[in-house]
């Protein structure tokens, strides 16, 4: 019922939406299934991601929760969370790749001119394009406001020079949401400007390199006098910090909901693999409890967001809980899976456990490290004042 683009009915309630989406996913199960067994290569996963998003877009599911003025169908962002949860529940896509939309699109929707957003958002939602996030640099990790990739005005263009690092999946991407230094060096938060950059612009070199599990998920991106049209500035001159921070509500809510679906999925897979004894019950129970803590927290957070609250430093609690839940689960997998599964085996299912175990170590690093989250909690939520 919600699957027609022409359907102008009001926003569906979440439970009904989920039910109808599940029915649609059941009906289209064969078309949506991956063409490969196990985890697949990164290239296969990208093709699968584009395929699933394409079908979801074609039948109108992907557009829910995005504003109508930029090509969406309106409604609460909760609907986006439900779509991601449903496709991850069915193991159709890698949650982190599906979540790229959540960490990229809000900047363009909230800060780019409507024409620009309306032109490009549908391409991202439909899987015709991938975008990447050009934030971190070799000298800029947790301390994002220290970034130094420069943009200098030259007529109606800005000329970008510098390097970005950890720019995930940029070799598959057509656009980049790029943070640049437009103020003087040392201008910190005040001197940062965001641009929406075409990655085929002359002067851009993308060099993929492998993450710890072996996939070329990371890349470094070099900008050598890259000319970016001034109309691709997003969020105004020196407005880049606001742009970057505007991602947090979605990166810490909708996006986590996808991750929770993934973790549920994998905990169920683990439980299907191991035999029950008191030790196993305790370890699986721990993983479930941590996951429920995260799910309950994320639900509250998303309802606050949907209810019009502005999310702030309290989402650091959500981020800390994601790291705890993910690492607890894959520690449990390593402890409980038959000996040799993670260490030695080479079948697709075992390789997947190994990749995911290795990947889980990043959960306390990306998107603001566990230590940064605790710094924020201490200062902003507990009012402990400045640190020493």
């Amino acid at each position: 019922m919600f699957s027609s683009m022409q359907d102008q009915r009001p926003e569906p309630d979440v439970a009904t939406f989920r039910r109808e989406l599940d029915a649609w996913l059941d009906e289209r199960a064969d078309e949506l299934a991956p063409a490969f067994a196990g985890a697949g290569t990164l290239g296969e996963q990208m093709t699968q991601l584009a395929k699933v998003k394409g079908h979801l877009f074609e039948d109108g599911w992907m557009q829910w929760g995005w504003p109508e003025r930029v090509g969406g169908r309106g409604g609460s962002p909760l609907l986006r969370a439900v779509v991601g949860e449903a496709v991850v529940d069915r193991d159709l896509v890698v949650s982190g790749y599906f979540a790229m939309t959540e960490v990229l699109a809000p900047t363009v929707v909230d800060f780019a001119p409507d024409e620009l957003a309306a032109e490009f958002l549908p391409r991202l939602l439909s899987g015709r394009e991938m975008w990447c996030q050009g934030f971190s640099e070799p000298g800029t990790g947790s301390d994002l406001s220290s970034l130094s990739c420069r943009a200098v005005q030259d007529g109606d263009h800005w000329v970008v020079s510098g390097q970005k690092l950890w720019t995930s999946l940029s070799q598959y991407s057509q656009r980049c949401v790029l943070l640049t230094r437009t103020g003087p060096p040392g201008s910190r938060h005040e001197g940062i400007t965001a641009f929406f950059v075409d990655l085929d612009t002359p002067g851009i070199t993308v060099r993929p390199f492998p993450i710890i599990s072996g996939d070329d998920e990371f890349a470094e991106v070099f900008f050598d006098d890259v000319r970016v049209p001034a109309e691709r500035m997003v969020g105004g001159l020196h407005g880049g910090w606001n742009v970057a921070m505007s991602l947090l509500p979605y990166e810490r809510s909708t996006s986590f909901w996808f991750r929770i679906a993934f973790l549920r999925n994998r905990l169920a897979a683990l439980a299907a693999t191991v035999d029950a004894d008191p030790h196993t019950e305790a370890v699986v129970g721990e993983a479930f409890v941590q996951l429920h803590a995260l799910r309950a927290r994320s639900r509250s957070t998303q309802h606050r967001l949907a209810g019009g609250h502005t999310l702030g430093p309290e989402t650091s609690v959500d981020k800390a809980l994601v790291a705890a839940a993910e690492q607890r689960l894959f520690d449990a997998a390593r402890a409980l899976l038959p000996a040799g599964t993670i260490e030695l085996a080479a079948d697709p299912a075992s390789l997947r456990w190994r990749d995911e175990y290795l990947y889980s170590r990043a959960a306390s690093i990306y998107g603001g490290s566990a230590e940064i989250q605790r710094n924020i909690i201490a200062k902003r939520l507990l009012g402990l004042g400045d640190d020493a």
Binding site: R264, A271, L384
Partner: protein, 310 residues
């Protein structure tokens, strides 16, 4: 009950319980209409009252009222709780009547309700039982152990014991979560006030991260309680109790380390919350026992319940 009513109720209950300074809060709560409220609005009443009890480290027999009400009796009726650590009905039907092994809160002379292993609930005369006041880690809680075999005074009927367990766990989860937050606040205030090496110890990252860790656990417990109210189920309630117990353990561990010397005394009120939460965690299934139980459920069903949806 709308938001304004709830806010008014919360303020009234908080004030009344706080005025008792940790002493017996039953009289003041009954005067405020606790019994009627528990019957009319059991979920709201439990959330508000047990949060206040946890915050104020107050002693009461409210938990017995919650169980009695869930079993269909009037609040104020004496009731036997399961033995410490367990959730099984405290009564075992025998040829002579009923064999009892459990706990009572603030025992009185009147008859006691006992839920039994065969699904019945009966009334007994406590006169025939051995009742021994529990000193234990938290003597102020007012618990007594009851054991012995007595004849049945009245067959009350079938007992919805699972519902009673559920109601008790929810109440305890609120009390534990509230007490956990107080332990964190006590440590937080100490860290801000206490000066060493010429600056507040709250400025040291090691101290800050401990307190942050405690807040993460306390917030998780509150969210789990919110989830248990939004989509009630025995599983959601059990998970809320686990996470509230965890929050208390985590807040106690980090809080006591931050409080350091003063947290290791009975001069500072921290110890009262530590003792209370250790004692409460063991009622109706400890965090550890319930964690194993939910783990066993996942392994038995080979499925991970969503528990709560958006």
């Amino acid at each position: 009950m709308d938001a304004d009513d709830r806010a008014l109720l919360t303020a009234t209950v908080d004030q009344a319980v706080a005025a008792r300074h940790g002493a017996d809060a039953d009289a003041v709560l009954v005067e405020l209409g606790w019994h009627d409220l528990l019957v009319a609005e059991p979920v709201e009443a439990v959330a508000v009252v047990f949060t206040a009890l946890g915050r104020e480290n107050a002693r009461s027999r409210c938990l017995a009222d919650v169980i009695a009400t869930a079993l269909g009796a009037a609040p104020g009726t004496g009731v036997v709780l399961p033995a410490h650590g367990g959730s099984r009905p405290p009564g075992l039907r025998t040829d002579a009547g009923v064999s009892v092994d459990g706990l009572v809160l603030a025992p009185t002379a009147g008859p006691l309700l006992v839920a039994c292993d065969d699904g019945s609930v009966v009334e007994i005369d406590p006169g025939g039982l051995t009742i021994r006041e529990v000193e234990g880690i938290d003597p102020t809680l007012g618990l007594a152990m009851v054991t012995g075999e007595v004849r049945v005074l009245t067959e009350v009927g079938p007992a919805p014991w699972d519902e009673a367990v559920d109601a008790a766990r929810l109440a305890l989860a609120h009390e534990l979560a509230a007490a956990a937050r107080v332990m964190l606040e006590l440590a937080r205030d100490h860290a801000v006030d206490r000066v060493q090496f010429g600056r507040p110890i709250a400025s040291f990252q090691a101290v800050r991260h401990r307190l942050a860790e405690a807040l993460i656990a306390v917030e998780a417990a509150d969210s789990a309680l919110e989830a248990a109210h939004a989509e009630p189920s025995p599983l959601a309630t059990a998970l809320a109790k686990v996470l509230a117990g965890r929050a208390a353990t985590t807040a106690a561990a980090h809080g006591q380390q931050v409080l350091a010397g003063i947290g290791f005394t009975r001069d500072h009120e921290f110890h009262r919350y530590l003792f209370r939460t250790i004692a409460l965690d063991g009622l109706f299934g400890s965090s550890n026992a319930l964690t194993r139980e939910v783990g066993a459920l996942v392994l038995r069903t080979r499925a991970v319940p969503r528990v709560i949806d958006l």
